[in-house]
Amino acid sequence: MERLILRRLQADGEEMILNFGPQHPSTHGVINFMVETDGEVIRKAIPDVGYLHRSIEKIGEQVGYPGFMPFTDRIDYVAAMFPNEGYAIAVERLLQVEVPPRAQWLRAISCELCRIASHLISVGTMAMDIGAFTPMLHGVRERETVNDLMEALCGSRLTYNYHRIGGVAFDLPEGWRDRTLRFLDHFDRFLVEFDRLISFNEVFVKRLAGVAIIPAPLAVDYGLSGPNLRGSGVDFDLRRDMPYAAYPHFRFQIPVGKGFVGTVGDAFDRFYVRCLEMAESSKIVRQALESLPDGEYMAKVPRRIKPEPGEAMSRVESARGEMAYYVVSDGTEKAARVRVRTGSFTAMGIVDAISPGLMVADLVALIASLDVVAPEIDR
């Protein structure tokens, strides 16, 4: 693979080819970029992925339906509730099981809190790649509280394994709701302070405004999703346009990039869309906690899950984009195929299209603004 890429690059007769990664503090995980530069300006940057491949999809064919749930955590461990939910919805569609409303609400609450946590990492690392180290640590400090909430809810801080086929694993513990509301109060104030510290800092803005512009048609062509797509001005969000779970019951805005300080679709738009999404998620969690219905948190599913032969697909709006699961059942206890489509993998494609003409520092900004995590790319 590397030789192929090198040959492609060298066919142009250029000499300065360098590897940007795979060990690198700036790429988010183990990803390698083969960059051909001409002085400071990049001519071509080709992502070279696969360093974190763990055969998770193959494992899905071997551990049985309920056993695969902890592995979905590892697909995107920064925002692990989304893969959980996506898989659960896909298998529930196979089994044709209806999830009770309380479970839907709990799923939405846990997912939106997870979205906040994931975006905190994302904007924090973006700031860190641009050179400001303090906002990253402030973001991680807030994420610690979300981790604590998740720990109280399901027992784990990173790989939650909280959703189950048919519902969720646990109900809310005592005092969790008040704790979460207190956190959200604090968090809304934190966002204001974060904006003052870094979002509208002139140096930061100058680094990101007008940089790595992804025009809307190109974004749609390359299959971008989530904040990357919305940052380019395309108003599409699965939670509103193809609603699932409890989302039809909540009122929230979808932030869309509109050239906040530069051009539509630049790196700052993608950054700021994430900041705004955090505020929206906070609103959703509040509404969900307020309107949480009583009842069961888990549907009745058979002890051994053996769906009829068939296939099912689910799409959830993950923090990084659209996460889709395609599960094929052949009637046995083990799935015939579990396929995961992640937002980060498709975001890798656009690096090659956008990077010519960027400077190396801008490539760092581009990769950071796409919010890729290597485990999602390689699974």
Partner: protein
């Protein structure tokens, strides 16, 4: 790049203003208490006591109420639990659990084994501090002494489990950081040279496999 005076002055103005705000935020953090908990020696309480009840730490099995149903073994996606049941030679109607090994080094602390347990014998505790020098010390053997399976009464409403962590903690205490690995493998056969008498297997030979085979994966 023609830049009129306004844009120039605006650039200077926004830079000054944003630096003003940014620096006041960082200075304010200088005055606030850091959130760091200085583990392990400057915490007000042992950390394991501050963890929530659902925390998925090391697994603990209470052999007194284990029914030998092997539901946990089947539920584990990575097969880190190994249970062997045998008939009690003294009493053919009674079954004994002769092997109940959990490889905590392989365990991913997902909690799928805890859910199907009918009596709540296997639980996640809040213990997480169990680093050791030898990987094999992390295979916990809950049936060192084979135990009879628990017979669940038909109308039982609760199961008398030992307090959570009370069985695990002594086992963790016994696994000191510098403890020698357990003797899972037989010692190497003694090397017989014509001149030297064969060394007896035991103390001398046992040290070698525990060091040499430390990297080998132990399949329970």
């Amino acid at each position: 790049m023609a830049q009129n005076v306004r844009a120039y002055a605006a650039a200077v103005g926004t830079t000054v203003r944003s630096i003003w705000h940014g620096m006041s935020v960082t200075l304010s953090h200088l005055l606030r208490r850091p959130v760091t908990v200085q583990y392990p020696d400057r915490t007000p309480l042992p950390v394991r006591d501050t963890l929530p009840a659902r925390y998925r730490g090391f697994l603990e099995v209470d052999p007194a109420i284990c029914t030998g149903c092997q539901a946990c073994e089947r539920a584990c996606p990575i097969n880190c639990i190994a249970i062997t049941l045998e008939k009690d030679p003294a009493n053919p109607k009674q079954r004994l659990v002769t092997q109940f090994d959990i490889d905590e080094a392989k365990c991913m602390y997902c909690g799928l084994c805890v859910e199907p347990c009918p009596t709540g014998s296997i639980q996640h505790t809040r213990e997480f501090e169990a680093s050791s020098a030898d990987l094999r010390t992390l295979t916990f053997r809950w049936a060192e002494k084979p135990f009879p399976v628990y017979k669940v009464a038909k109308d039982a409403t609760y199961y008398p489990r030992a307090p959570l962590g009370s069985i695990l903690r002594p086992m963790l205490e016994a696994r000191r950081w510098d403890a020698r690995g357990p003797e899972f493998l037989p010692p190497e056969p003694p090397k017989v040279t014509p001149d030297a008498p064969p060394r007896a297997p035991g103390a001398a030979g046992a040290a070698a496999p525990s060091r040499a085979a430390a990297g080998k994966e132990h399949k329970p």
